[in-house]
Protein backbone atom coordinates (compact mmCIF):
# COMPACT_ATOMS: atom_id res chain seq x y z
CA UNK A 1 0.00 0.00 0.00
CA UNK A 2 2.62 2.44 1.09
CA UNK A 3 4.92 1.47 -1.72
CA UNK A 4 2.28 2.41 -4.23
CA UNK A 5 2.06 5.81 -2.66
CA UNK A 6 5.75 6.33 -3.20
CA UNK A 7 5.02 5.81 -6.84
CA UNK A 8 1.85 7.86 -7.23
CA UNK A 9 2.88 10.90 -5.23
CA UNK A 10 5.27 11.95 -7.96
CA UNK A 11 2.55 11.93 -10.55
CA UNK A 12 0.13 14.41 -9.05
CA UNK A 13 0.64 15.52 -5.48
CA UNK A 14 4.34 16.20 -5.75
CA UNK A 15 4.56 16.52 -9.47
CA UNK A 16 8.12 17.68 -10.05
CA UNK A 17 7.21 20.10 -12.81
CA UNK A 18 3.89 21.67 -11.96
CA UNK A 19 4.04 21.53 -8.19
CA UNK A 20 7.71 21.71 -7.36
CA UNK A 21 8.80 23.57 -10.50
CA UNK A 22 11.93 21.52 -10.97
CA UNK A 23 13.65 20.55 -14.18
CA UNK A 24 11.93 23.23 -16.18
CA UNK A 25 14.59 23.75 -18.79
CA UNK A 26 14.07 20.48 -20.67
CA UNK A 27 10.33 20.64 -20.13
CA UNK A 28 10.08 23.87 -22.02
CA UNK A 29 12.82 23.17 -24.52
CA UNK A 30 11.75 19.79 -25.85
CA UNK A 31 7.99 20.10 -25.58
CA UNK A 32 7.64 21.20 -29.16
CA UNK A 33 6.34 17.78 -30.08
CA UNK A 34 4.86 14.88 -28.17
CA UNK A 35 7.44 12.56 -29.65
CA UNK A 36 10.28 14.59 -28.18
CA UNK A 37 8.42 14.75 -24.91
CA UNK A 38 8.16 10.99 -24.65
CA UNK A 39 11.81 10.57 -25.55
CA UNK A 40 12.94 13.10 -23.00
CA UNK A 41 10.62 11.72 -20.35
CA UNK A 42 11.85 8.20 -20.91
CA UNK A 43 15.48 9.23 -20.78
CA UNK A 44 14.99 11.17 -17.59
CA UNK A 45 12.99 8.37 -16.01
CA UNK A 46 15.71 5.88 -16.81
CA UNK A 47 18.36 8.08 -15.23
CA UNK A 48 16.14 8.79 -12.25
CA UNK A 49 15.38 5.16 -11.53
CA UNK A 50 18.94 3.96 -12.02
CA UNK A 51 20.55 6.73 -10.04
CA UNK A 52 18.02 6.35 -7.25
CA UNK A 53 18.73 2.64 -7.07
CA UNK A 54 22.47 3.05 -7.05
CA UNK A 55 22.54 5.89 -4.60
CA UNK A 56 20.24 4.03 -2.29
CA UNK A 57 22.53 1.04 -2.56
CA UNK A 58 25.64 3.07 -1.94
CA UNK A 59 24.20 5.31 0.72
CA UNK A 60 26.16 3.73 3.52
CA UNK A 61 29.31 3.56 1.50
CA UNK A 62 29.44 7.22 0.48
CA UNK A 63 30.81 9.62 3.09
CA UNK A 64 28.50 12.57 3.57
CA UNK A 65 31.26 15.06 2.86
CA UNK A 66 31.60 14.09 -0.77
CA UNK A 67 28.09 12.85 -1.30
CA UNK A 68 27.10 15.55 -3.78
CA UNK A 69 30.08 14.95 -6.11
CA UNK A 70 29.39 11.24 -5.83
CA UNK A 71 25.76 11.67 -6.75
CA UNK A 72 26.72 13.86 -9.66
CA UNK A 73 29.18 11.24 -10.81
CA UNK A 74 26.62 8.47 -10.67
CA UNK A 75 24.02 10.58 -12.42
CA UNK A 76 26.45 11.77 -15.07
CA UNK A 77 27.43 8.21 -15.82
CA UNK A 78 23.87 7.15 -16.41
CA UNK A 79 23.22 10.23 -18.48
CA UNK A 80 26.17 9.43 -20.67
CA UNK A 81 24.91 5.88 -21.08
CA UNK A 82 21.51 7.17 -22.18
CA UNK A 83 23.18 9.66 -24.46
CA UNK A 84 25.22 7.02 -26.21
CA UNK A 85 22.41 4.54 -26.36
CA UNK A 86 20.06 7.02 -27.93
CA UNK A 87 22.61 8.10 -30.45
CA UNK A 88 23.16 4.50 -31.40
CA UNK A 89 19.59 3.29 -31.56
CA UNK A 90 17.32 6.29 -32.15
CA UNK A 91 19.50 8.86 -33.89
CA UNK A 92 16.69 11.18 -35.08
CA UNK A 93 15.36 11.56 -31.54
CA UNK A 94 18.86 12.08 -30.24
CA UNK A 95 19.34 14.81 -32.77
CA UNK A 96 16.16 16.65 -31.94
CA UNK A 97 16.76 16.53 -28.19
CA UNK A 98 20.24 17.89 -28.72
CA UNK A 99 22.18 19.10 -25.73
CA UNK A 100 19.25 18.54 -23.44
CA UNK A 101 20.22 14.93 -22.99
CA UNK A 102 23.60 15.68 -21.39
CA UNK A 103 21.86 18.45 -19.51
CA UNK A 104 19.80 15.86 -17.64
CA UNK A 105 22.83 15.84 -15.35
CA UNK A 106 21.97 19.21 -13.95
CA UNK A 107 18.25 18.53 -13.86
CA UNK A 108 17.38 19.45 -10.30
CA UNK A 109 14.79 16.69 -10.06
CA UNK A 110 17.37 13.96 -10.21
CA UNK A 111 19.87 15.41 -7.82
CA UNK A 112 16.98 16.52 -5.64
CA UNK A 113 15.54 13.02 -5.39
CA UNK A 114 18.95 11.54 -4.74
CA UNK A 115 19.57 13.94 -1.91
CA UNK A 116 16.07 14.06 -0.47
CA UNK A 117 14.90 10.50 -0.93
CA UNK A 118 17.30 7.86 -2.19
CA UNK A 119 20.02 8.68 0.30
CA UNK A 120 17.57 8.00 3.13
CA UNK A 121 15.43 5.14 1.89
CA UNK A 122 15.69 1.56 0.80
CA UNK A 123 16.37 0.35 -2.70
CA UNK A 124 12.84 -0.72 -3.61
CA UNK A 125 11.24 2.44 -2.29
CA UNK A 126 13.84 4.57 -4.01
CA UNK A 127 13.19 2.83 -7.26
CA UNK A 128 9.46 3.41 -6.96
CA UNK A 129 10.10 7.00 -6.02
CA UNK A 130 12.32 7.48 -9.02
CA UNK A 131 9.82 5.81 -11.28
CA UNK A 132 6.97 7.91 -9.93
CA UNK A 133 8.88 11.12 -10.32
CA UNK A 134 10.02 10.13 -13.77
CA UNK A 135 6.52 9.32 -14.89
CA UNK A 136 5.24 12.54 -13.37
CA UNK A 137 7.92 14.42 -15.23
CA UNK A 138 7.12 12.63 -18.45
CA UNK A 139 3.38 13.24 -18.10
CA UNK A 140 4.00 16.91 -17.48
CA UNK A 141 6.08 17.28 -20.62
CA UNK A 142 3.56 15.28 -22.59
CA UNK A 143 0.71 17.49 -21.45
CA UNK A 144 2.60 20.63 -22.42
CA UNK A 145 3.84 19.12 -25.64
CA UNK A 146 0.35 17.98 -26.61
CA UNK A 147 -1.01 21.47 -26.23
CA UNK A 148 1.88 23.02 -28.09
CA UNK A 149 1.92 20.52 -30.90
CA UNK A 150 -1.86 20.63 -31.22
CA UNK A 151 -1.98 24.40 -31.50
CA UNK A 152 1.31 24.95 -33.24
CA UNK A 153 1.14 22.25 -35.86
CA UNK A 154 -2.37 20.89 -35.65
CA UNK A 155 -1.16 17.37 -34.94
CA UNK A 156 -0.45 15.15 -31.98
CA UNK A 157 2.30 12.56 -32.38
CA UNK A 158 2.39 13.65 -36.02
CA UNK A 159 -1.20 12.50 -36.46
CA UNK A 160 -3.25 15.29 -37.92
CA UNK A 161 -6.05 16.25 -35.56
CA UNK A 162 -7.13 19.58 -36.88
CA UNK A 163 -8.17 19.89 -40.53
CA UNK A 164 -5.48 20.86 -42.99
CA UNK A 165 -7.18 24.22 -43.46
CA UNK A 166 -6.24 25.07 -39.88
CA UNK A 167 -3.65 27.79 -39.90
CA UNK A 168 -1.29 26.64 -37.16
CA UNK A 169 -0.49 29.04 -34.37
CA UNK A 170 3.25 28.87 -34.82
CA UNK A 171 3.88 30.89 -31.69
CA UNK A 172 2.85 27.85 -29.67
CA UNK A 173 5.93 25.91 -30.71
CA UNK A 174 8.20 28.92 -30.36
CA UNK A 175 9.70 29.85 -26.98
CA UNK A 176 6.93 32.31 -26.03
CA UNK A 177 4.37 29.57 -26.47
CA UNK A 178 6.28 27.35 -24.06
CA UNK A 179 6.37 29.97 -21.34
CA UNK A 180 2.77 31.02 -21.71
CA UNK A 181 1.50 27.44 -21.87
CA UNK A 182 3.24 26.40 -18.69
CA UNK A 183 2.22 29.63 -16.97
CA UNK A 184 -1.42 29.08 -17.80
CA UNK A 185 -1.27 25.40 -16.86
CA UNK A 186 0.21 26.25 -13.49
CA UNK A 187 -2.48 28.86 -12.97
CA UNK A 188 -5.14 26.32 -13.88
CA UNK A 189 -3.66 23.84 -11.46
CA UNK A 190 -3.70 26.33 -8.65
CA UNK A 191 -7.33 27.18 -9.39
CA UNK A 192 -8.16 23.48 -9.10
CA UNK A 193 -6.19 23.18 -5.88
CA UNK A 194 -7.90 26.19 -4.37
CA UNK A 195 -11.26 24.68 -5.25
CA UNK A 196 -10.25 21.41 -3.65
CA UNK A 197 -9.09 23.20 -0.54
CA UNK A 198 -12.27 25.23 -0.21
CA UNK A 199 -14.31 22.06 -0.58
CA UNK A 200 -12.35 20.21 2.06
Amino acid sequence: MKAIQEFTKGIIKENPVFVMALGLCPVLAVSTSVQNAIGMGAAATFVLVCSNIFISLLKNFIPSKVRIPCYILVIASFVTIVDMAMEAYVPPLHKSLGIFIPLIVVNCIILGRAEAFASKNGVFKSMLDGLGMGVGFMLAIIVIASIREFLGVGTILDIRILPASYKPMIAAILPPGAFITIGLLMGLLSILQNKKKSKA
Binding site: A21, L22, L24, C25, P26, L28, A29, I68, P69, I72, L73, A76, S77, V79, T80, D83, M84, I99, P102, L103, V105, V106, N107, C108, L111, A171, L174, P175, P176, G177, A178, F179, I180, I182, G183, L184, M186, G187, L188, S190, I191, N194
Partner: protein, 200 residues
Protein backbone atom coordinates in the same frame (compact mmCIF):
# COMPACT_ATOMS: atom_id res chain seq x y z
CA UNK B 1 41.51 37.57 -34.80
CA UNK B 2 38.29 38.04 -36.61
CA UNK B 3 36.40 40.63 -34.66
CA UNK B 4 33.23 40.44 -36.65
CA UNK B 5 32.84 36.78 -35.72
CA UNK B 6 33.23 37.66 -32.08
CA UNK B 7 30.75 40.50 -32.46
CA UNK B 8 28.22 38.14 -33.98
CA UNK B 9 28.75 35.67 -31.17
CA UNK B 10 28.23 38.39 -28.58
CA UNK B 11 25.06 39.77 -30.14
CA UNK B 12 23.84 36.25 -30.79
CA UNK B 13 24.26 35.04 -27.26
CA UNK B 14 22.89 38.16 -25.61
CA UNK B 15 19.94 38.99 -27.83
CA UNK B 16 19.21 36.72 -30.74
CA UNK B 17 19.57 33.36 -29.04
CA UNK B 18 19.36 34.47 -25.47
CA UNK B 19 20.21 31.57 -23.20
CA UNK B 20 17.18 31.88 -21.02
CA UNK B 21 14.35 32.84 -23.28
CA UNK B 22 15.36 31.13 -26.48
CA UNK B 23 17.43 28.21 -25.36
CA UNK B 24 15.60 27.60 -22.08
CA UNK B 25 18.80 27.31 -20.10
CA UNK B 26 19.08 28.55 -16.54
CA UNK B 27 15.36 28.74 -15.96
CA UNK B 28 15.53 27.79 -12.30
CA UNK B 29 17.45 30.88 -11.19
CA UNK B 30 15.53 32.92 -13.77
CA UNK B 31 12.32 32.15 -11.94
CA UNK B 32 13.84 31.64 -8.50
CA UNK B 33 16.21 34.58 -8.06
CA UNK B 34 14.23 37.24 -9.87
CA UNK B 35 12.09 38.56 -7.06
CA UNK B 36 14.40 41.42 -6.16
CA UNK B 37 16.53 43.42 -8.52
CA UNK B 38 19.55 43.51 -6.22
CA UNK B 39 19.76 39.77 -5.81
CA UNK B 40 19.11 39.28 -9.51
CA UNK B 41 22.05 41.51 -10.26
CA UNK B 42 24.27 39.67 -7.79
CA UNK B 43 23.31 36.34 -9.27
CA UNK B 44 23.91 37.68 -12.75
CA UNK B 45 27.41 38.83 -11.89
CA UNK B 46 28.24 35.48 -10.34
CA UNK B 47 26.93 33.68 -13.40
CA UNK B 48 28.90 35.84 -15.82
CA UNK B 49 32.03 35.08 -13.87
CA UNK B 50 31.46 31.35 -13.57
CA UNK B 51 30.29 30.97 -17.15
CA UNK B 52 33.40 32.64 -18.50
CA UNK B 53 35.64 30.54 -16.30
CA UNK B 54 33.74 27.35 -17.11
CA UNK B 55 33.91 28.03 -20.83
CA UNK B 56 37.64 28.45 -20.56
CA UNK B 57 38.29 25.37 -18.50
CA UNK B 58 35.95 22.99 -20.27
CA UNK B 59 37.30 24.05 -23.63
CA UNK B 60 40.81 23.30 -22.44
CA UNK B 61 39.77 19.96 -20.99
CA UNK B 62 37.94 18.97 -24.12
CA UNK B 63 40.70 20.04 -26.44
CA UNK B 64 43.65 18.64 -24.58
CA UNK B 65 42.22 15.56 -22.87
CA UNK B 66 39.09 14.36 -24.60
CA UNK B 67 39.15 15.13 -28.29
CA UNK B 68 41.18 12.55 -30.14
CA UNK B 69 42.61 14.86 -32.75
CA UNK B 70 44.06 17.36 -30.35
CA UNK B 71 44.38 15.35 -27.16
CA UNK B 72 47.72 14.82 -25.50
CA UNK B 73 46.73 11.18 -24.96
CA UNK B 74 45.75 10.62 -28.54
CA UNK B 75 42.70 8.57 -27.63
CA UNK B 76 39.05 9.44 -28.03
CA UNK B 77 37.58 10.15 -24.63
CA UNK B 78 34.68 12.30 -25.81
CA UNK B 79 32.26 9.95 -24.10
CA UNK B 80 33.57 11.29 -20.80
CA UNK B 81 32.57 14.80 -21.85
CA UNK B 82 29.52 15.14 -19.61
CA UNK B 83 31.22 13.77 -16.52
CA UNK B 84 34.37 15.77 -17.04
CA UNK B 85 32.49 18.99 -17.59
CA UNK B 86 30.14 18.71 -14.68
CA UNK B 87 32.92 17.74 -12.29
CA UNK B 88 35.18 20.53 -13.42
CA UNK B 89 32.34 23.02 -13.07
CA UNK B 90 31.59 21.77 -9.56
CA UNK B 91 35.24 22.01 -8.61
CA UNK B 92 35.52 25.41 -10.23
CA UNK B 93 32.59 26.77 -8.29
CA UNK B 94 33.99 25.42 -5.04
CA UNK B 95 37.36 26.88 -5.83
CA UNK B 96 35.96 30.25 -6.82
CA UNK B 97 33.98 30.32 -3.63
CA UNK B 98 37.07 29.68 -1.56
CA UNK B 99 39.19 32.20 -3.40
CA UNK B 100 36.62 34.94 -3.25
CA UNK B 101 36.01 34.26 0.41
CA UNK B 102 39.68 34.78 1.19
CA UNK B 103 40.65 37.40 -1.34
CA UNK B 104 37.55 39.58 -1.51
CA UNK B 105 35.26 39.16 1.47
CA UNK B 106 33.10 42.05 0.31
CA UNK B 107 32.48 40.38 -3.02
CA UNK B 108 31.86 37.12 -1.23
CA UNK B 109 29.19 38.76 0.85
CA UNK B 110 27.49 39.95 -2.30
CA UNK B 111 27.88 36.83 -4.44
CA UNK B 112 28.52 34.07 -1.93
CA UNK B 113 25.00 32.86 -1.52
CA UNK B 114 24.52 32.49 -5.25
CA UNK B 115 27.62 30.51 -5.99
CA UNK B 116 26.44 27.09 -4.77
CA UNK B 117 23.25 27.54 -6.80
CA UNK B 118 25.30 27.88 -9.93
CA UNK B 119 26.61 24.32 -9.96
CA UNK B 120 23.18 23.08 -10.88
CA UNK B 121 22.55 25.96 -13.23
CA UNK B 122 22.17 24.20 -16.53
CA UNK B 123 23.23 27.34 -18.37
CA UNK B 124 26.81 26.82 -17.25
CA UNK B 125 27.02 23.24 -18.45
CA UNK B 126 24.94 24.28 -21.43
CA UNK B 127 27.38 26.92 -22.57
CA UNK B 128 30.27 24.50 -22.21
CA UNK B 129 28.53 21.91 -24.36
CA UNK B 130 27.43 24.47 -26.93
CA UNK B 131 30.96 25.78 -27.30
CA UNK B 132 32.02 22.29 -28.29
CA UNK B 133 29.00 21.69 -30.52
CA UNK B 134 29.57 24.95 -32.36
CA UNK B 135 33.26 24.22 -32.82
CA UNK B 136 34.27 27.49 -31.26
CA UNK B 137 37.95 28.14 -30.83
CA UNK B 138 39.47 29.13 -27.51
CA UNK B 139 38.81 32.88 -27.70
CA UNK B 140 35.37 32.37 -29.18
CA UNK B 141 34.47 30.02 -26.35
CA UNK B 142 35.47 32.51 -23.71
CA UNK B 143 33.64 35.31 -25.44
CA UNK B 144 30.59 33.13 -25.89
CA UNK B 145 30.67 32.18 -22.21
CA UNK B 146 30.86 35.78 -21.10
CA UNK B 147 28.20 36.92 -23.57
CA UNK B 148 25.86 34.14 -22.53
CA UNK B 149 26.32 35.25 -18.94
CA UNK B 150 25.59 38.83 -19.86
CA UNK B 151 22.49 37.74 -21.73
CA UNK B 152 21.39 35.75 -18.72
CA UNK B 153 21.97 38.72 -16.42
CA UNK B 154 20.11 41.03 -18.75
CA UNK B 155 16.92 39.03 -18.81
CA UNK B 156 17.21 38.19 -15.13
CA UNK B 157 17.43 41.84 -14.14
CA UNK B 158 14.64 42.84 -16.52
CA UNK B 159 12.51 40.06 -15.08
CA UNK B 160 13.25 41.20 -11.56
CA UNK B 161 12.24 44.74 -12.46
CA UNK B 162 8.89 43.58 -13.76
CA UNK B 163 8.32 41.28 -10.82
CA UNK B 164 9.05 44.03 -8.34
CA UNK B 165 6.38 46.02 -10.10
CA UNK B 166 3.96 43.11 -10.13
CA UNK B 167 4.12 43.15 -6.32
CA UNK B 168 1.86 46.16 -6.47
CA UNK B 169 -0.60 44.79 -8.98
CA UNK B 170 -3.79 42.85 -8.71
CA UNK B 171 -2.73 39.62 -10.37
CA UNK B 172 -5.49 37.02 -9.94
CA UNK B 173 -4.78 34.86 -6.91
CA UNK B 174 -4.28 31.68 -8.84
CA UNK B 175 -1.76 33.28 -11.16
CA UNK B 176 0.38 34.81 -8.43
CA UNK B 177 4.00 33.76 -8.11
CA UNK B 178 5.34 31.30 -10.58
CA UNK B 179 2.53 31.24 -13.15
CA UNK B 180 2.61 34.97 -13.75
CA UNK B 181 6.40 34.89 -13.92
CA UNK B 182 6.13 32.46 -16.80
CA UNK B 183 3.63 34.69 -18.53
CA UNK B 184 6.07 37.57 -18.15
CA UNK B 185 8.79 35.34 -19.54
CA UNK B 186 6.49 34.60 -22.47
CA UNK B 187 6.01 38.31 -23.08
CA UNK B 188 9.76 38.79 -22.96
CA UNK B 189 10.31 35.96 -25.39
CA UNK B 190 7.76 37.50 -27.77
CA UNK B 191 9.49 40.85 -27.54
CA UNK B 192 12.92 39.34 -28.07
CA UNK B 193 11.65 37.71 -31.25
CA UNK B 194 12.30 41.14 -32.68
CA UNK B 195 15.99 40.27 -32.67
CA UNK B 196 15.54 37.03 -34.55
CA UNK B 197 17.08 36.76 -37.95
CA UNK B 198 19.51 39.52 -37.18
CA UNK B 199 22.40 39.65 -39.59
CA UNK B 200 25.36 41.94 -39.87
Amino acid sequence: MDFSTLFIIIIGSIFVNNFVIHRFLGLCPYIGVSKKMDSAFGMGMAVIFVMTMASTITWLIYTFFLNKATSIFGIDLTFLRTIAFILSIAVLVQFVEMVIKKAAPELYKALGIYLPLITTNCAVLGVSLLNINENYNFIESIVNGAAAGVGFTLVLVLMAGIRERLEYSKVPKSMKGMPISFIVAGCMALAFLGFSGMKF
